[in-house]
Symmetry: C2
Subunit: 374 residues, 2 copies
């Protein structure tokens, strides 16, 4: 039993695909008017515009002021690769990158390979079994002036308004450059706007930043790797300068990004009926995730498993910590053949009606068997 | 009038798409059994295998001996980026790259950005108006020991058997590492096997090499950027070592390559009927290219344009040199609004029944107007 799939699974154990995607795929294949010529280096413009509106909201001033733009990239890894290459050349202040997230991020290696000094920090407090909203604030205090902060899954942190204000004030003072990671907008709360509210805080405080926006997961087109490197600048002139440099780098990386995924997403985002259907499918998925978590918690309660399991339902999104220690994880893997990450983070959509009893009983055994050990 | 399109155009002035692609696109969209999960880092295995068979021929010993492999990349630029990164780390002999082709290649910049010393050489002899098969041999003689040779469009050179033998002997002696570029197998002669015959020479002489194989153009799916970085090693063990290193690099670049294009191509190559239909469409396109060239030559002859225009039909493929000097090109651009590269290389598929008379008359005028000037 493998509970560490990267993608969301359906209750039938298949990768989740938004219902609207099949329909659009067929429409595209049947459309004789489509042109399959090379895209410009920066990618499909209609896709970028639709993605930016999704990220910031249609009426965000940053869009009206023409100071946000993007480069269509090959997935989020492509966005980080491109952003890191740009920062290596142009971010002269400091070549230190802090990667702060609720989990181990693959792009740490991207920055390291390019020659940055990388320091990784987690929000997850494995003792208190919760996201530690002070962790980010403390890291900012310690970080050197002018460094780069790659911030992933910050939505999990549930910072209060005053914490946000403190965070932004510290970052401003230290001239820290933020590089956000939005791997799946909407998966945290089911509400697209809510999930990226913090980006609008940063915009309104006059920050310039990068953001890796991945759209593959929220539509269920994993194998197309659809991403955008989003650039927010202080004005249009600065934005154009950055985009022009990014274009040169893109040319060397892949020249023209692949478009099938972008075409599907644009068709959905630009059609109000399809857009609604997609949002509905997204809400359905997030509802299912919460339901599974509730069920796991309830079953553990009924089994009398020691400890509180509220942290399961307190975390948002498909991937969450079970809150097991390394011995308990080892027990699950070795004795129960339930394969999960060492840190106990699992994909809750891998749990379904067929395996939930086995999994919860196994967790119960794991906890009981290691009782008393640290 | 723009005669420098990168892609082949139909007689209606639309990007050429193999007739079989539409059909397969629809089949894929209608297939409920397909899985859109992430691909492995090296890409779609069935696609890589089908591409390698296409490149070397099914029965080539290199396939039977399990010493050829590939990484599915984002187009040919992706293949060069990946290959260049690998060579930067592992090719310790020399950090000098010779780029030899019939035209200016974009990947010169890729190698340069990564830190190689790049030296570019062209086969095209603009005085004799022909591909200079000795150019390559001379460049090898001058090149330093252990350098890298990126060789594009070598098929245009029409080397004799003995020239091939001399070339390979020199390269062996100097331990030059070849990195071939196959941008559109089949477009030169219309014969897929013929176009890559030279690769089999290098295999049989025991060379290890890289090859960037692009498949977007020959199917007409330009916007998907489908490529393979092909690795030929001396044995399976060495091959696996190289692939493992390439995997690490791919992970940082884009992690998972996009699959739509690869899916289309694999569906065609693995189905004998579709494969035949595709080959037929390719032959039709190459036939059309030759026809256009013949017509241009004939029209110039009828107009009494000074000079021999045999070089037009002596060159293979859609992109060929008109054999005009810079003044003549300038005349076409400024006086006739016919936009072509400074070097006079055009895409002959941009010429059709509607514009051929205007184009040939303009060439005639350009030649007459600059008569006598160097």
């Amino acid at each position: 039993m493998f509970l560490a799939h990267r993608v969301c699974m359906t209750s039938q154990g298949q990768p989740w695909v938004s219902s609207v995607v099949h329909k659009v795929r067929l429409q595209i294949a049947q459309d004789p008017s489509l042109n399959y010529e090379y895209m410009p280096v920066t990618g499909m413009q209609s896709f970028i515009q639709a993605s930016l509106k999704l990220l910031f909201g249609k009426h965000n001033p940053v869009i009206a002021e023409n100071r946000v733009g993007g480069v269509h990239t090959v997935g989020d890894n492509g966005a980080f690769q491109l952003g890191a290459q740009f920062l290596k050349i142009w971010h002269q202040d400091s070549q230190i990158v802090y990667i702060i997230s609720s989990k181990k991020e693959p792009h740490g290696l991207v920055f390291q390979d390019i020659g940055f000094k990388v320091s990784e920090h987690s929000f997850w407090d494995s003792k208190k079994l919760c996201m530690d909203s002070n962790a980010l604030l403390n890291v900012v205090e310690e970080a050197p002036h002018g460094c780069i902060f790659v911030i992933g899954n910050i939505g999990d942190c549930k910072l209060t308004q005053s914490q946000w204000a403190r965070l932004m004030a510290s970052m401003k003072r230290k001239q820290i450059f933020p590089f956000f990671d939005i791997p799946y907008q909407g998966f945290s709360t089911g509400d697209l706007e809510e999930d990226t509210r913090f980006l609008r805080y940063f915009v309104s405080r006059g920050f310039e930043f990068f953001c890796s926006q991945s759209l593959s997961k929220t539509f269920g087109i994993y194998d197309e790797g659809v991403g955008v490197l989003v650039v927010v600048a202080l004005n249009n002139q600065l934005l154009l300068r950055v985009l022009s440099q990014l274009m040169t780098l893109t040319q060397a990386l892949w020249r023209n990004p692949p478009t099938m995924g972008a075409r599907i997403i644009t068709s959905i985002l630009c059609n109000p009926a399809l857009h609604e259907e997609w949002k509905h499918s997204l809400k359905g998925l997030v509802g299912d995730i919460m339901l599974v978590k509730e069920k796991v918690k309830e079953k553990l309660r009924l089994l009398g498993t020691p400890g509180s399991w509220d942290h399961i339902t307190n975390q948002n999104g498909p991937h969450s910590y079970l809150g097991l220690n390394s011995k308990q994880v080892e027990y699950l893997v070795k004795e129960k053949h339930i394969y999960i990450h060492k840190n106990g983070r699992i994909n809750f959509t891998c749990i379904n009606a067929c395996n939930i009893d086995y999994i919860t009983q196994s967790i119960n055994e794991a906890v009981l068997s290691t009782k008393g050990s640290p």
